[in-house]
Symmetry: C2
Subunit: 108 residues, 2 copies
C-alpha cells in the first residue's frame, strides 16, 4: 500500500475538472440543491429560486450536457432531476465543511 489513497487516473481528471467547474457557480449549486428534493420543472426553479427563466434554462442545458442532470418532457413541461448521486455527495462534503466553518474549526 504505497502512494496516496485517491490516485485519480489522468483521463478521469479531465472529466472531474469539468464537473467541478460546472458546479462552481452559485446558481447551479442552488439548482442542484433544489433538485435533491426531487425532479422539478424549469418554471418551479425559475419561480422558487427567483432566477430569470432563460438563465435557468441555460444552466440546465450546461448541466445536462455535462451529465449532472437529466430531464424528461411531459407536454410543454420539462422535468429535470439529478443524474447521479455523485453530485449529492459533493454537496454533502460542502455541508460538512460549512458546519466546521460555523463551529469556528476552520476559517476562510
Amino acid at each position: 500500500m504505497v502512494g496516496n489513497q485517491t490516485n485519480i487516473s489522468p483521463e478521469f481528471i479531465q472529466k472531474a475538472a469539468r464537473i467541478l467547474k460546472t458546479l462552481g457557480h452559485p446558481d447551479r449549486i442552488k439548482i442542484v440543491e433544489f433538485l435533491e428534493d426531487g425532479e422539478k420543472t424549469v418554471g418551479q426553479i425559475h419561480r422558487e429560486l427567483d432566477m430569470q427563466q432563460p438563465i435557468v434554462s441555460q444552466h440546465l442545458k450546461v448541466m445536462n450536457d455535462r451529465g449532472i442532470v437529466t430531464h424528461r418532457q411531459e407536454g410543454t413541461r420539462y422535468f429535470y432531476s439529478l443524474a447521479n448521486e455523485l453530485i449529492v455527495n459533493i454537496l454533502n462534503c460542502l455541508s460538512e465543511f460549512q458546519e466546521k466553518l460555523n463551529s469556528g474549526e476552520w476559517n476562510f
Copy 2:
C-alpha cells in the same frame, strides 16, 4: 425533519462555488492530489508533474488566495500544503465516482 438534508446557507454558497470552480481545472486537481502526499516545493510540483514553473506558481497563488492551500517559506523555497481536509474529501468523492464509472455503473 422536513426539507432536504444538506441545506447550504446562502452566504456559504458563494464560497462553495468559488472553491469548486477553483478546483475545476485539471492542473489544479493534479497539484492538490500531489499535495495529499504532504507538503511540496514549487520546484517539486514543476518537475514531477511536468508543468511550467510560472503556471505552477500561478495556480498556487489562486489556490492560496481561495483558502485551498497554505505555504511556509524556508530560504528561497516555498513549501505548499493543503489548507484543510475538505479538499481531500472532495477528491475522495471523485475517486468513488471514478470507480462507479469504471465498473460501468454510471456513464458520462
